[in-house]
């Protein structure tokens, strides 16, 4: 049977093809290709909506016996919800982007990156294999880097993009470490196979469980912007608004939440898991909600409320109770719906008025009535006012905190406090800009439908799901909760639970939320205060580390790569002497086998005599040319010694090489002053010491080689088979061109590269105006 999950690769390939189609530059702005782009996510959305019903489907598409990892996809309730959010909100974002980027440059490029990002996100939520998941995970970081830094002429954009990729990328690498440990102790890299109770027991009782879990949590926390890694997300607001709406409402930042939810049945309900998630999530949700109230930029407010909402989700996943899992399942959907419409709303206002500063915006109601309604609906759901779906979500949150044994008052207290602040923040974005005196921009009018209809769709859905929870109860939320807990869950969402503590808490939240909104006066004073406080936050630490890194690499480069050949040689040779010298001196016996020595003949004596004289001349001659000539003589005497000891090949090569070396030296030295000053500075003494130690070391090594008489097998094999196998009588040459031919091949490549290097260094000079430091 051909199940839908096996058709996933076709979907991926289709998306990839359209990415390429979009990536080919177009002459026209808003061409057909970019106008048709929403069809891709819409098609994918329908595929996930109709092709799957939330039951678990796994397909192994490719595997190899030698590889522990395989190409396999799983679609279950959790994966399907995320896939629906990614493609559904993606569809609306693509429609919105077409309106938002109208007439702008590089629309196609933006859409191409957005599609790439969508592909990566789908990969993250549908992969069954850990390594595959990691690859897609990093691909989301990389594609979001291009999206955040889309306005690449703007320095702040580039900085934010770097910051985001540095934090999420590093987190991802740490997570890879965790994945590998997990895969090794579980004996499988497939997440589906890990949910077996025996495997879970083996994983949780393993000695490496704690480091593995911490690594994976670091990956999830950095991606989902948990305190103290949260600051990349507000920074990422430099991106065009469609990007922020897509990445930071439903997708990228929720990848961390997804990961935690995915591993919850395997790694959840352990002490480290619960403690870490509850404490990080708890701190994040209240800290970020507090921060949001001080901001004046709409997108900034939304960014901090998003961080806070992510904190809530992490917190709920830490509670691990059945209620908490139901709450997080619903809240993922709730948050995506209202936050994406908020973002699009902010983008549209910015697009039409040119500002996102809520202290400057007012009275937009008359000009943008539909947007005002969107704002109210989104704020409604955000605040958890009945009958929105947000109310259902908040209800479940309070139920789960109240039911937590021991710390229920504390947890309920911070949840209520967070929700009060989020309520007020929602009003700041969805209500405030539309109220009050009409501002003097005369040409503000209702934008084209593509700029407000997508937001309206999401806002209305939020209300619809609240009124009729049956729409999502069995089809979406129950399968998600089942996937997160690992057991079959049975949730019944309903609006009215009667008069109980939860309802009173909800009423309290709304009342205090309105009150907070009434007190808050967004403006420069509050912003200045929080920005001052920000200086002591974790962002500063990161900047200090980043700066330190740049400074230290600057120092290393300037010290080691300073362009002076002397220093390069000194470093290389010094290192060689230290490392090799240590090994040699600790293992050498320093004995010379007297019997192996032959008698010195008169010819040898004369040759060595010439050798010594020329060494002396090279060192102490006053003229450079004479020194070079003496060096040539050293080479030739060595040739003669090779001849004495029957190595004609070596002698021939040494002879020609030496000839060319001398010519080369003469050519280079020709332009230097003819005479050298011969005063012995400390520098000379250092050089002499280095030269002596390198030479001495090489001598010791050669003598040692003779002593040890290494394995003769290889040379015997070559000598025996040179003629038999390679039909050559000259063993040296046979080794060069046949036995070790591949080495020679690489050597001549290196030689060519060296020649090209010399040529380009000397010939291709910078023009005067291209001079750089």
């Amino acid at each position: 049977m051909d199940s839908a999950v096996e058709k996933l690769p076709i979907l991926f390939v289709c998306i990839l093809l359209y990415i390429i189609v979009l990536a080919i530059p177009s002459v026209r702005k808003n061409g057909v290709r970019s106008r048709l782009s929403p069809l891709i996510p819409i098609g994918a959305f329908l595929f996930f909506l109709l092709g799957f019903d939330g039951s678990k489907q796994t397909a192994v598409l490719w595997s190899h016996e030698l590889l522990p990892t395989q190409l396999s996809f799983t679609v279950d309730g959790l994966g399907r919800l995320f896939a629906l959010l990614i493609t559904g909100i993606g569809s609306l974002i693509f429609i919105y982007a077409n309106g938002y980027m109208k007439g702008a440059k590089y629309t196609q490029r933006l859409q191409s990156f957005l599609l790439l990002f969508m592909l990566a996100m789908l990969g993250v939520v549908l992969s069954d294999d850990l390594i595959m998941l990691f690859i897609f995970w990093e691909l989301t970081s990389i594609s979001s880097f291009f999206l955040i830094g889309f306005k690449n002429e703007d320095e702040a954009s580039r900085k934010s993009a770097l910051q985001a990729i540095a934090i999420t990328g590093l987190g991802g690498l740490v997570m890879l470490g965790g994945f590998i440990i997990l895969g090794e102790i579980a004996g499988t890299y497939s997440i589906a196979e890990m949910s077996n109770p025996e495997v879970i027991a083996a994983i949780t009782s393993h000695a490496w469980f704690a480091p593995m879990l911490i690594f994976i949590l670091l990956g999830a926390f950095t991606k989902s912007a948990q305190f103290p890694f949260h600051f990349w997300l507000p920074g990422a607001m430099k991106a065009p608004t469609p990007v922020s709406a897509y990445l930071h409402s439903a997708t990228m930042v929720k990848a961390g939440v997804y990961l935690l939810a995915r591993f919850s049945p395997v790694l959840g309900d352990t002490l480290i898991w619960n403690t870490a998630l509850i404490s990080f999530g708890g701190v994040t949700m209240i800290y970020a909600a507090f921060q949001a109230l001080f901001r004046t930029d709409m997108k900034s407010i939304l960014a901090y409320t998003t961080v806070s909402a992510l904190g809530i989700m992490v917190f709920l996943l830490g509670l691990q109770s059945s209620d908490a899992i139901a709450a997080v399942s619903l809240f993922i959907l709730v948050h995506a719906l209202y936050k994406a419409s908020f973002f699009m709303l902010a983008g549209t206002i910015d697009h039409e008025t040119g500002t996102r500063d809520i202290s400057k915006l007012s009275g937009l109601k008359t000009a943008m009535m539909p947007l005002f309604i969107v704002g109210i609906l989104a704020a409604w759901s955000n605040g958890g006012v009945p009958p929105s779906v947000g109310f259902l979500g908040k209800d479940l949150i309070y139920e789960s905190t109240l039911a937590f044994p021991g710390l229920n008052y504390l947890f309920t207290g911070i949840s209520v406090l967070t929700n009060i602040m989020l309520f007020a923040a929602g009003l700041l974005v969805g209500w405030l800009p539309f109220r009050g005196q009409k501002i003097s921009h005369k040409d503000i009018h209702l934008p084209t439908p593509s700029l407000w209809v997508p937001a309206a769709v999401l806002a209305v859905l939020g209300m619809l799901f609240g009124l009729f929870p049956a729409l999502i109860n069995d089809s979406l939320i129950n399968p998600v909760a089942t996937a997160i807990s690992g057991n079959t869950e049975n949730i019944h969402l309903k609006l009215w639970h009667g008069f109980n503590t939860v309802l009173y808490l909800s009423l309290l939240t709304m009342g205090l939320g309105v009150l907070t909104y009434a007190i808050i006066r967004p403006g420069a004073r509050l912003l200045g205060f929080i920005e001052y406080a920000e200086q002591f936050g974790p962002k500063r630490l990161l900047h200090a580390i980043a700066n330190g890194f740049i400074q230290s690499s600057d120092w290393v480069t300037k010290t080691l790569q300073n362009g002076k050949l002397r220093i390069y040689l000194l470093v290389i040779l010094g290192f060689l002497v230290l490392i090799l010298g240590y090994v040699v001196l600790s293992e050498t016996t320093f004995t010379i086998d007297q019997e192996m020595l032959t008698n010195i003949t008169i010819y040898e004596g004369i040759t060595v005599g010439i050798l010594f004289i020329s060494v002396f001349l090279t060192l102490f001659s006053g003229s450079r040319l004479a020194a070079v000539a003496a060096m040539g003589v050293i080479g030739y005497t060595l040739c003669i010694i090779f001849v004495f000891y029957s190595a004609p090949d070596l002698a021939m090569t040494q002879f020609t090489i030496d000839t060319l070396t001398v010519i080369l030296f003469v050519l280079v030295l020709y332009r230097l002053p003819r005479f050298i000053r011969l005063d012995f500075s400390p520098r000379h003494i250092l050089d002499g010491l280095v030269a002596l130690s390198v030479g001495g070391l090489m001598t010791i090594i050669s003598l040692e080689v003779l002593q040890r008489m290494p394995e003769r097998e290889i040379s015997d094999y070559y000598a025996l088979n040179a003629y038999l196998l390679a039909k050559g009588k000259n063993v040296v040459n046979v080794i060069l061109v046949d036995f070790r031919g591949a080495d020679t091949m690489i050597e001549i490549v290196v030689l060519s590269i060296a020649a090209i290097g010399v040529y380009s260094l000397l010939k291709l000079r910078l023009r005067k105006n291209e001079k750089m430091e």
Partner: protein, 136 residues
């Protein structure tokens, strides 16, 4: 160096040395020699000519820039290494023609490999030397 003796001698030495370098290249499989040494000898021949007659003169004589010999050599070596793969043998297996060829002797893929090395060595060493002597 403007000596008439060297100038005259180099005229005869260049072809002789080149011939010698080819000789060294070909005999490499049985006797001392080979592509590397042969290439160096040929390079020295050209350098000697350049010393005696001036660099522009030698460059005119060569017609092409020595650098172009490098890709040629690399291509010949690579193809000779890949050739056995056509015969379903591993990369770089020595393949030999059955009957010997006059003058050269038996003909095998190793020889072509060595010719490639020869050309690369000439190209690389002359490129380096010529570039350095041209630069001021």
């Amino acid at each position: 160096m403007n000596t008439i003796i060297l100038k005259t001698a180099s005229k005869y030495l260049l072809p002789l040395l080149l011939l010698f370098s080819i000789f060294v290249l070909l005999r490499g499989h049985y006797l001392p020699g080979g592509g590397f040494v042969g290439g160096l000898i040929a390079a020295i021949a050209f350098v000697l000519h350049a010393f005696a007659n001036g660099l522009p003169h030698t460059q005119r004589l060569m017609r092409i820039h020595p650098g172009f010999l490098m890709p040629f050599g690399l291509a010949i070596s690579t193809i000779s290494g890949m050739f056995p793969m056509l015969l379903n043998q591993p990369f770089m297996t020595g393949v030999w023609k059955k009957d010997p060829v006059p003058v050269i002797g038996s003909l095998g893929s190793a020889l072509f490999f060595d010719i490639g090395v020869y050309l690369v060595v000439i190209g690389a060493s002359l490129t380096i030397l010529f570039t350095i002597s041209e630069t001021r």
